[in-house]
Amino acid sequence: MENKEHIVSSFDRDLEGIQAMIMKMGGLVETAIAEATAALENRDEDLAFKVRKGDKAIDELEERVNEEAARILAQRQPAAGDLRTVLTVFRLSASLERIGDYAKNMAKRAGVVMQMQQINGAAAGLRRMSRQVELMLRDVLDAYIQRDVDLAADVRERDLEVDQMYSALFREYLTFMMEDPRNITACMHLHFMAKNIERMGDHVTTIAEQVIYLSTGDYPDEDREKGDRSSYDPGNGEV
């Protein structure tokens, strides 16, 4: 009685179609994160410009995914696992689109920062952090397509490290600014880039939660440890 395929085979094609579009969005967003970071590190203006232009494709995909998902709801009235597939597609496309926006914003700021005097070592921390988020995104997309609850739960846990990296960068930039006020403008931009990456991590976490819901029908408990303490940081080095 168990059977993976629908009696109406076009229903299968519809569901595969929207999930394939999500994967395509995911691929574009992954690339955008990597390239925005590389643009800053290599002071590559063209690459920064490419990321900014590329966000349009992600936005368009989001729109198409949502239209298709709405059509499937209207036409097929999906139930159970199929319903969860369509519902999660809406959430995933929204999260991916937001991550794309953050990457675009990073690319904009990278374009400004690269005009300024370089701060030694400032980009390296950002690179590590963005690499971490990029890998989390890759894993969560794998978890999505494999319906791998354990991997999704693992990604969710790893957001703690991103938060900790952000807190560390926050303090690092404070130090740079206190050392030399000429660093303030650049550090403000760098800090916003770090915040962008931290927000990306939150969206990846949302995606991981959606993957868990998709596979199990339940959301995970909200008892995750939070690693970002910068909201409580008075800026005097006494956290």
């Binding site: 009685m1 168990e2 993976k4 009696i7 139930a79 159970a80 969860r84």
Partner: protein, 265 residues
Amino acid sequence: MNDMRLTERNMTDQKIKMQARGVDVFYGDTQAIKTVDVDIQDKTVTAFIGPSGCGKSTFLRCLNRMNDTIDVCRVTGDIRLDEEDIYDPRVDPVQLRAKVGMVFQKPNPFPKSIYDNVAYGPRIHGLATNKAELDEIVEKSLRRAAIWDEAKDRLDQPGTGLSGGQQQRLCIARAVATNPEVLLMDEPCSALDPIATAQVEELIDELRERFSVVIVTHSMQQAARVSQKTAFFHLGELVEFGETSQIFTNPQDTRTESYITGRIG
């Protein structure tokens, strides 16, 4: 409407109106129902879904002993209405069916006037002592079945002259005229167009305020729309029984999932 939706989520505090335990049904040597346990709550719509031949209609017919009319059919196990065994030899099936009414797939009005269709049950059960009381029952029943406005000027005309949707609502009026406590509906909308279907569904929702409704349907969307509890039958077994919202978003049994998502017939 919103309030109602919220209360629908919490149906567990309704008392149990009918209770079935270890019910087996045989047609000759063939077992059609295998050890089914089910609780039908009061003031709740319970939907039975499942592929053709899964036993859902057979089981429904056990609830008011309609299977008694089939010679080769044998029902064992325990079915209770308000804790009273309905298969007790002292129970009169005719009285039982006044309490547990039934509406069938195809509208089947008697070849009588609209008035007599509805008045028939109250008459044989002696629910009215005079013409005025009977008139009142007929009007109330037709109103409850949302067909009064369409039928009030033609009560003396044959029920068979109504449209399909109207006939079905007339049959519902006939079923509610005896003041049943449970209403069984065997695919009540499968012969109706979408508008008539919507009217019957609206009616089911209103009827729920007074008594329990048990509906067998082939339309999964219909089950999702009208019921608060859903039971999925497969090959004579009750595979899964639970809150409708849970069955349609997160079924626990893979067979239920396969059926409601259109993966098996």
